[in-house]
């Protein structure tokens, strides 16, 4: 296996449940920052996360997290926190005990464990409900208390399976801000989520999965460039869209140039974005068109998801 003390490495990993494929021949190397696992139900996202945390064992291949494996759980789980999708809790447990008890198993003294518990509860906004039994929590509260448990021991790697499920918009925004902050601090944050628009904003890279295979992976823009079948969409907001449209439409690589309804922009679909940008520079330098903004219109996770997997990611 590649020796990568700062990477999460999947080395030719396959997992079969009997004859059913979980994931097949996954090779990934994930660095610090936020990685989003994207794919429809049954594509293998949860299997990948369970493999990463040792809850299931690979049928073939090896998984290492920062050079560690779950065979050494003492060191491994000091560095890793996992907020799983399983919405179940030990009987009669309170929110406070749910976080405190595992911290004691980490070897923290009662005082340190209490301090970390309070800190984690504070971060997810659950301090007030901490002494209540988890069985009486709403779905969103249960989600937040699981998140608190996953971050309480300050792990270097945080694995989050559908962490936004059940959260109201406010809590969702807070959770995303938290993930973003953790990612910026250099943590490895691996998220699977169906709410692509929100994950898209904070992801440093995506791993697109379908039927147990990794379809594409990398930085979102890089992945988009690799999708040759679908011309890139570039929106240019400018003073003279008709002029720009006529200039670009004669080019071979431009498939479509569509003037926006408000008459202040043109949406260009091109098979060669670099050539288009060169032309745009030329047109601007001639002074015929004043450009206000240029932005790719479909290099987001949702578009890539639709192009590669063929369904509406946002509806998954």
């Amino acid at each position: 296996m590649r020796n990568a003390p700062d990477q999460i490495v999947f080395d030719n990993v396959s997992k079969f449940y009997g004859e059913v494929l979980g994931v097949n021949r996954v090779n990934l190397s994930l660095g610090p920052g936020i990685t989003s696992l994207v794919g429809p139900n049954g594509s293998g996202k949860t299997t990948l996360m369970n493999l990463l945390t040792g809850l299931i064992l690979p049928s073939q291949g090896k998984v290492a997290v920062l050079g560690l494996t779950p065979d050494d759980p003492v060191e491994f789980f000091r560095r890793v926190g996992y907020c799983s999708q399983f919405d179940s809790f030990p009987r009669n447990v309170t929110g406070l005990d749910f976080i405190y008890a595992p911290l004691r198993l980490h070897g923290f003294s009662p005082r340190q464990a209490r301090q970390l518990t309070d800190e984690a509860l504070e971060r997810v906004g659950m301090s007030d409900a901490a002494r209540r039994k988890v069985a009486g929590y709403s779905k969103g509260m249960r989600q937040r208390i699981r998140l608190a448990q996953a971050i309480a021991h300050h792990p270097s790697v945080l694995v989050l399976d559908e962490p936004l499920n059940g959260l109201d918009p406010m809590a969702r925004a807070e959770a995303i801000a938290l993930f973003e902050a953790l990612g910026k601090k250099g943590m490895h944050v691996v998220i699977s989520s169906h709410i692509l628009e929100e994950v898209d904003r904070i992801s440093d890279r995506v791993v697109l999965m379908s039927h147990g295979y990794v379809v594409a992976e990398g930085r979102i823009q890089e992945v988009r460039r690799e999708v040759k079948d679908h011309p890139m969409q570039i929106l240019v907001r400018c003073s003279n869209p008709a002029r720009l449209a006529s200039e670009v439409f004669v080019l071979d690589h431009v498939v479509e140039a569509k003037i926006q309804n408000d008459g202040r922009g043109v949406l260009v679909r091109t098979r060669d974005a670099d050539q288009f940008y060169l032309l745009l520079n030329k047109v601007v330098s001639q002074g015929e068109v004043q450009v206000d903004a240029v932005a790719p219109a479909d290099d987001d996770v949702n578009s890539i998801y639709q192009y590669l997997i063929g369904s509406d990611g946002g509806q998954q």
Partner: protein, 290 residues
């Protein structure tokens, strides 16, 4: 590697292990499990199983004691029979089945096992923590039931009973019953803990083990030693006069010394636990298929 190298290496390895942390973790896990074992509503039937004979003997003491002339010898043999045929072969056996198979299987049914696997605890420590909790539960429940049964069996005999217990062989018999209860809890506990890590439904293997334990006296010598009842029978303090079919259960075909019996059972339990520790490394959290 030669023997000369092996010992220093082993010593070095032992010295490097975080024993203090493991002991603390075992304690925390055992305490959590004990709370669950004693307070769970679903474990109510184990209380019934444990204390049923004590209640029956208490009724015997209350109803029969004052009216009839009870025989010390007869009551001693009745108690020995209850201990052998009820406590050992049914009560502790099924009680341990209920307690120990639920330690991991219960977590799978309630979908909480992943919490145990996502903390920095070696799985061997997890097995031991749960095993200790299960053993303490079984020993406390069945030990106190045996104690109560013993008390009620002799209390209604008045001075004769008191003399038998404190000046005769009574106290020695009580210690022997408590020792056998403890060893039975440890032996059957280890066995059912290991079975729960292999089978999804431990009822069928449990029934097979029960059959195996029952036919133990007619098995070949080597196989006899691979059963829990073989060692326990050697330690029973009172011989039960049985005839015909029942004699099959009480006969000790190859007697061994009490020392060997205790060590043999502890060795067997330790070997089963070592197997369980290996086995748990292959256990995966796949609730949907369980």
């Amino acid at each position: 590697m030669s023997g000369d190298e092996l010992i220093p290496r082993l010593r070095h390895w032992i010295g490097r292990q975080p024993w203090q942390l493991w002991i603390e973790q075992t304690g925390i896990l055992a305490r959590t499990e004990l709370r669950r074992n004693f307070l769970a509503r679903r474990g109510f039937w184990i209380y019934l199983l444990a204390f049923a004979p004590a209640v029956i003997i208490a009724l015997h003491a209350i109803i029969d004691g004052p009216r009839h002339h009870c025989s010390l010898t007869a009551d001693t043999q009745v108690l020995a029979g209850i201990f052998d045929f009820y406590y050992l072969r049914l009560g502790i056996f099924f009680g341990c089945m209920g307690i120990f198979t639920w330690l991991f299987r219960g977590e799978i049914v309630e979908r909480t096992l992943h919490y145990q696997f996502l903390v920095p605890v070696r799985r061997e420590v997890l097995v031991l923590g749960k095993f200790f909790a299960g053993a303490i539960t079984a020993i406390v429940l069945f030990g106190s039931s045996v104690l109560l049964s013993f008390y009620f069996m002799y209390v209604h005999l008045g001075t004769a009973g008191k003399t038998y217990v404190f000046e005769g062989p009574g106290l020695h018999q009580l210690w022997a019953y408590l020792l056998v209860t403890t060893l039975a809890s440890v032996g059957y506990g280890a066995l059912f803990l290991a079975l729960s890590l292999i089978f999804k439904n431990p009822i069928v293997p449990g029934a097979l083990v029960m059959g195996y334990e029952a036919i133990n006296p007619v098995l070949p010598s080597a196989l006899q030693k691979l059963s829990v009842i073989f060692y326990l029978k050697q330690l029973l303090p009172v011989e039960i006069p049985t005839q015909g079919f029942l004699a099959l259960f009480t006969v000790v075909a190859e007697p061994v010394s009490p020392f060997v019996a205790v060590l043999g059972l502890l060795g067997l339990a330790a070997a089963i636990l070592v197997f369980a520790c290996f086995r748990i490394h292959r256990l995966e959290v796949t609730y949907s298929t369980d």
